[in-house]
Structure formats: structure tokens, C-alpha cells
Amino acid sequence: MSELLKVEQVAKAMEGLGTVDAMKPNRIRVATTPAKVKEAVQRALKDLKCDHVVQIAAVDNGKSFELIYNLTGPHHTVVSILLELPRDKPEVPTASDLLPPAGLYERQIHDLLGIVFVGHPNLKRIILNEDWPENEFPMRKDWKPNPNTFYGGVHTEEAK
């Protein structure tokens, strides 16, 4: 089993992309910007030998959206690439060409938070039901169900 990655190694690989800090011995976080995220993912794959995408976590912190790309590899250290997206224009380049499994995760995030992954080949609905209204993103903190909107299922008298 190979050794855990060190903060210095990650900092060297991610030079010029953002701040690097260790959250735990086996979890190192890189805070970067939407424009540089592809570069960061590429360097994690190439220079840090990451070969497995654990998860793309998406958070609405009330002010902005955050995406955290958690990658790992034979070193068993999770490299978390964090970026923030403004609420009014949540757009980020897709990582699905670099990480094939990210394709599904990005579709899910698009459904729930309305983040647009620019360049995604098939950003179609996957997790919400097909009769869910367009442009309603339930995981946003400011989302409230509208009593007059039909959210799927069986049409009842009241919903009409």
C-alpha cells in the first residue's frame, strides 16, 4: 500500500490554481475557481495519480453554490477540489470528458440544484420525475413548493 499524499505534494501539483489545506491526514482540499477546475482535475489525474472519483458533492450554502469534486487513488487520500458558483449564473465546464462517471453525477446535480455543466453531452433529467416542472430546483435553500403547481403523480381536484 502506498503512502498517503502530503499537503506539500498536492500544493506543488496544484500550483497557481488555489489554496491547499489538509482537513484530515487523508483528506486534502484545494479551493479553486470555476475557470480553473478542469485544469485542477486534470492535474489530480495526472500528477497526483488519482484514478477514482468518489463523489461530486453539491451544496447550496445560502449565498452561493459549492461543488466539491472528491477524487482518490492508490494513495488512499481524498483530494477535494472545491469551487464556488454565483447564484445568478451557476455555470461550470463539465468534467464528464475527463471523468466518465461524472456524467451521471452532473446530471443529478443539474436536476436538484440547477447548476449548468457547460459542454455536457446529455444534460437530461435523471433523478426527478418526468412531470416535475421545469426550472424548479428542490435542493436550493430558497425553494418552496408552490401550492398551485403540479409536481407529479396523480392529478387531484385540489391541484387542478
Binding site: 477514482h52 468518489v54 463523489q55 472528491n70 482518490t72 435523471i126 420525475n129
Partner: protein, 393 residues
């Protein structure tokens, strides 16, 4: 031949969650696969934000009916990490015992389903009978057969009495015996050899590229197992091995799961025999300080991840769940390409998907000349018939 779109799904009672596939086939060969997993979206992540840590545990227990203990353990261990508390060793061992019994009954269930999909119903009956013994053990220990309700933030809710430990140890030799028999059977039984070998093959590079997890990945020689890579609860103390295989097909996935069954039994035996004395829970603070936890867990189907944000309150700010089945879909979509339509049931079943599948398949000729309908049972039957004919030819 013309390409044909075969929609499969979303409902089937034999599997656990609904999913819809659109399989594009050219004759008997699969060209492409698209999927829709929306049918069982219940908004659990949103509901988890509204409840405090005490109330959210029973909610998460109901994410899945098979990995119910996985979802609560991964969550409570994340919250305990955020609170910076250590739970007593006895509680960690009890969590491990339940976790491994859950893996045993889940793998036995899978083995039965896979046997059923290839028409080997005798094996299906045998494995499910043995699974009953495991569920009885779980019922004796936790009081429940499916949602065990054993976890809480700060420890476990029920202690094991010496009588319970003795009763559980008495049940183990029978299971060990049965699983050794299955291992033997996989290498000898003609039906399994024909239907599992070379089917749904994925190389090590494919697995890494497509992000597959769990037994699917380990069957292709990728030794990722969170129990070893990022040890939690009692796994660092217990002697056990990560099982890998190099076949990379359904056969390899079967061998890995049977190997894991043997390892799990060994872990359960060790934990029961070496259960530390002491309390089973500690009192934890109501709220968790602001923090961000990535909690990883090796569920029976692979790596399960809960991403947790806490914010000084007794509720989570965000809980993002990534289930192993979601991670495995990309690999299924790829491993089905160039395979036979007849192999869909067994390849899909080979990742042990948490999904309930078809009650009806509509076969539509793309030219619009012919539309027919098929149930999943008919597709399974088609698979068996296809191989029967091929066997004769």
C-alpha cells in the same frame, strides 16, 4: 438488421428499486443503453435537512431496505467525527457485527437473484433459505429483520447478552459449511459456468475509467475496499483480507462475493469472540460544530459516501448521498455493449443493483412496423431459451 429500442422498466418485483433502461439493440446484440433512475426519488436529502440528528437516523435507515445499517452507520460515524467524539469499543464491535451480517444476507440475496436469472432456481431456494438464518441472527440481536434500528449518534441502542453471543456463535458453523459448498459449486456447476463466464467483462482499466465500486471493481483486480483504505468502526482491529479476482466477468463477481461471505463470517466470529466489555454508548452534544465531513463506507454493493455539512446546529446543512449503485451504472452501460440481449438480466443483476426493474418491456421496431410487449420474466425466459438453443447447436 435494424436497430431496435427495447425499453425495460421501471417496475419489477424481484429487484429492489425502479429504473428504466432504453436498450438499443441490433438484432440480439446491444448497441447502446440509456437509463432513467427517477422513479424512486423521495427527497430524502431534503427531508434530512429538516430533522435533527436523532430523527434523521431512522429516516436514513429507510434509504434502502437491504443496506439499511450501512446508511445509518456512515451517517452517525460522520456526525461523531464532526462532534469530535469517540464511541466505546463495544459499540464499534456491535456495529461491525451487524454490518457484516448485513453483508452476508445481502450477498446471499444477490447470489439467489443471479441464480434465478439464469434459471437455476434450486440454488435460489438454497441461498434464500440460508439467508433466513442470517436474518434470524439479526432479529435475535437487534429485534428487527430489515431496519435494525441499532445505531444512534454516540453508540448503539442495544447490548448483546452472553446468551445472545452464544446463540449467534452456534449458528455460524452451518453458514460456513453452506458457503464452502457454494464455492465448490460455482467451479463445477455447468449452468453457472456457461452463463457467468465471459459475460459482462470489464478490464481493470475500464473499472478505473468508469468509476465502478465494490465487488464489481474487485472482480477486475482493483483492490479498493474502504474497510482497508480508510478503516472505520472495528475493521482496523479485526484480521481479514480484501478479496479480489482477475476474471472481470460475472463469474469473477460471483467468486469475489463468495470470498467476501467467508471473510464476513470470519469477522463476525472474531467480533463475537472478542467483544470488549464496557458501555455501549456515550452522551453526545445536541449540536455539531461547523464542519464538512466526507464519510465513506464499504456497503455490500460498494463504496457508499455521505457528504455532510454541519453548521453549529442540531441539523445538517447539507447531506449529499452517493450510493454504490449510482457509481456502478456507468460500468453497466459500457459492459452491456456488444453483449446479447439475453444477457441483460444477469449483467444488470451482477452489480447487485438496488433497483426494481420491469413489469413490462415494449419492443418497438424503429421503422414502426411492429410493436410487441414482453415482461421481465419473458426476457429471462428468452435468455434461458437462447442459451438452451445455442447449447444444442
Amino acid at each position: 438488421m435494424t436497430e431496435v429500442v427495447v425499453p425495460i422498466g421501471p417496475h419489477h418485483p424481484a429487484l429492489k428499486e425502479p429504473v428504466n433502461f432504453k436498450v438499443v439493440a441490433d438484432g440480439e446484440t446491444i448497441v447502446r443503453l440509456e437509463l432513467d433512475v427517477s422513479y424512486n426519488h423521495r427527497g430524502i436529502e431534503k427531508a434530512a435537512e429538516q430533522r435533527d440528528f436523532v430523527r434523521v437516523v431512522p429516516l436514513l435507515e429507510r434509504v434502502c431496505g437491504i443496506c439499511s445499517h450501512s446508511h445509518t452507520t456512515v451517517f452517525v460515524k460522520g456526525i461523531e467525527e464532526a462532534m469530535k467524539v469517540q464511541i466505546p469499543p463495544r459499540a464499534q464491535y456491535i456495529r461491525t457485527i451487524v454490518a457484516e451480517l448485513e453483508r452476508i444476507h445481502s450477498h446471499l440475496l444477490w447470489f439467489g437473484v443471479a441464480a434465478h436469472e439464469i434459471g437455476f432456481n434450486t440454488l435460489f431456494m438454497w441461498t434464500w433459505r440460508d439467508r433466513e438464518a442470517v436474518q434470524d441472527m439479526l432479529e435475535e440481536m437487534t429485534g428487527n429483520r430489515v431496519n435494525y434500528g441499532i445505531n444512534e449518534v454516540g453508540g448503539v441502542r442495544r447490548d448483546l447478552t452472553p446468551e445472545q453471543i452464544q446463540a449467534a456463535l452456534k449458528r455460524l458453523p452451518h453458514l460456513e459449511d453452506r458457503i464452502a459448498k457454494y464455492r465448490d459449486m460455482v467451479n463445477k456447476e455447468a449452468t453457472m459456468m456457461i452463463r457467468f463466464r465471459g459475460v459482462g467483462k470489464l478490464s481493470k482499466d475500464d473499472i478505473l475509467k468508469l468509476g465502478a465500486v465494490g465487488p464489481t471493481a474487485r472482480a477486475s483486480g482493483v483492490d479498493y475496499d474502504i474497510r482497508k483504505d480508510d478503516p472505520y468502526i472495528a475493521y482496523a482491529d479485526v484480521p481479514w483480507q480484501v478479496i479480489t479476482d482477475t476474471h472481470g466477468d460475472v463469474y469473477g463477481r460471483t467468486l469475489v462475493r463468495i470470498g467476501e461471505l467467508q471473510q464476513s463470517l470470519q469477522i463476525v466470529r472474531y467480533c463475537l469472540e472478542n467483544l470488549p466489555a464496557g458501555p455501549i454508548k456515550i452522551t453526545t452534544p445536541r449540536a455539531a460544530p461547523r464542519g464538512e465531513i466526507l464519510s465513506r463506507y464499504e456497503a455490500p454493493r460498494g463504496e457508499l459516501v455521505h457528504f455532510i455539512r454541519t453548521n453549529n446546529t442540531d441539523k445538517v446543512e447539507r447531506l449529499d448521498i452517493r450510493t454504490p449503485t449510482l457509481a456502478n451504472w456507468t460500468s453497466v452501460a459500457v459492459s452491456l455493449v456488444h453483449q446479447n440481449l439475453a444477457d441483460i438480466p444477469v449483467i444488470v443483476a451482477a452489480i447487485d443493483p438496488c433497483l426494481s426493474c420491469t413489469s413490462r418491456i415494449t419492443i418497438v421496431n424503429e421503422r414502426g412496423k411492429k410493436t410487441g410487449e414482453m415482461t421481465w420474466d419473458e426476457l429471462s425466459a428468452h435468455g434461458r431459451e437462447f442459451y438452451r438453443k445455442r447449447g444444442r447447436a
